[in-house]
Amino acid sequence: MNEQKIVEIDTVKIKKRLKQRKAKMKMSLSVCARCTLCADSCFLFNNNNKDPKYMPSYKFINSIGRIYKRRGKVDRAALEKIREIVWKDCVLCTRCYCPFGIDIPDMIAFARSICREQGVYPTFED
């Protein structure tokens, strides 16, 4: 089947991509007050015994947030963890609520596209 090619993670490329949408992402990440009011707007959070890992804020802080924090210098293992978050824990239904109006789905989608570009995406073995 479609074997996922193991390729070197190109951190330069990630950095370049981060730069493209730096303003919006950094602003969104920096103003998040960690208030957790977004939690209940995610039906996955409600369906999974209110497990914090399904909170919209948790998902973006630990995906795109993590990539930004390390300025793109992430390794394959980190990206694979992020893959689990952005594909398995989020369906991009775009319905999360943020009291400040932070565009969470866009950040998840951006994390997805960075992962995809690095050859890290859901495979058929999952």
């Binding site: 707007s41 039906f43 369906v91 239904c93 319905r95």
Partner: protein, 222 residues
């Protein structure tokens, strides 16, 4: 994605009349994106129903649950332990989701709370526009990316008809003539040759239920 719209409340209460224990099932897919059938809408509809029943002194239990997508059995399986306790199910998914849910629980009445309207696009949050009728034989390549099946009231393939009225459709001044738009776009791209050819009658592929098997999976299923 698929676009839907909630049914009028009277129709919903009418459908549920004989049942006292209802599970309202939302869908986190397309209908959630178009603000018609996600978790939030499930909660809203349930609250609305509860207040109606309370007003009329009817005792009914209405509960909600939202699955990732109702068009995939894997996600419907989440309902195995839940659905048993209800005497009817209501689905806020598109027509496909409702049918798959009904197939999963053949012994239970399943009612739709949504009218599935179209395959469409998000113009803005809350404004959705039909773009495709899933005719099964896409002609967008020669019509400049404007669908005559969806947009032309008569579904003409060799338009525009004589009723075009200053770029508007004959049936309404609010609808722009699809074929005028096709003409303008192709003219801009210097591709008018495309519509000079006579387009043969369609082979309508949406006349019977269709099943598709993607090429790489042919071997697996045939």
């Amino acid at each position: 994605m698929v676009k839907g719209q909630r049914k009028p409340i009277d129709e919903i209460t009418g459908a549920l009349e004989k049942y006292s224990n209802v599970l309202n099932i939302g869908c986190g897919g397309c209908v959630s994106v178009c603000l018609a059938g996600g978790q939030k809408e499930v909660n809203l509809l349930n609250a609305e129903l509860e207040s109606i029943y309370k007003q009329n002194n009817i005792s009914k239990k209405i509960e909600g649950f939202t699955v990732e997508r109702q068009c995939n059995m894997q996600y419907l399986d989440e309902l195995d332990d839940i659905a048993g306790g209800y005497d009817c199910l209501m689905s806020m998914a598109c027509g496909a989701g409702v049918q798959y849910l009904a197939e999963k629980f053949p012994g239970k009445p399943v009612f739709p709370a949504i009218n599935t309207v179209a395959i469409g696009i998000d113009r803005e949050i809350g404004i959705y526009e039909e773009k495709c009728r899933a005719c099964g034989e896409c002609v967008l390549g020669y019509t400049g990316g404007i669908c005559p099946v969806t947009r032309c009231a008569k579904g003409l393939f060799n338009g525009p008809c004589g009723g075009t009225n200053k770029g508007k459709c004959e049936i309404s001044n609010d609808i722009s003539c699809a074929w005028q738009d096709i003409y303008e776009r192709l003219k801009g791209q210097n591709r008018l040759d495309d519509i000079l050819k006579i387009k043969e009658p369609m082979e309508w592929k949406n006349q019977t239920q269709r099943t598709i098997i993607q090429e790489p999976y042919m071997k697996r299923y045939t």
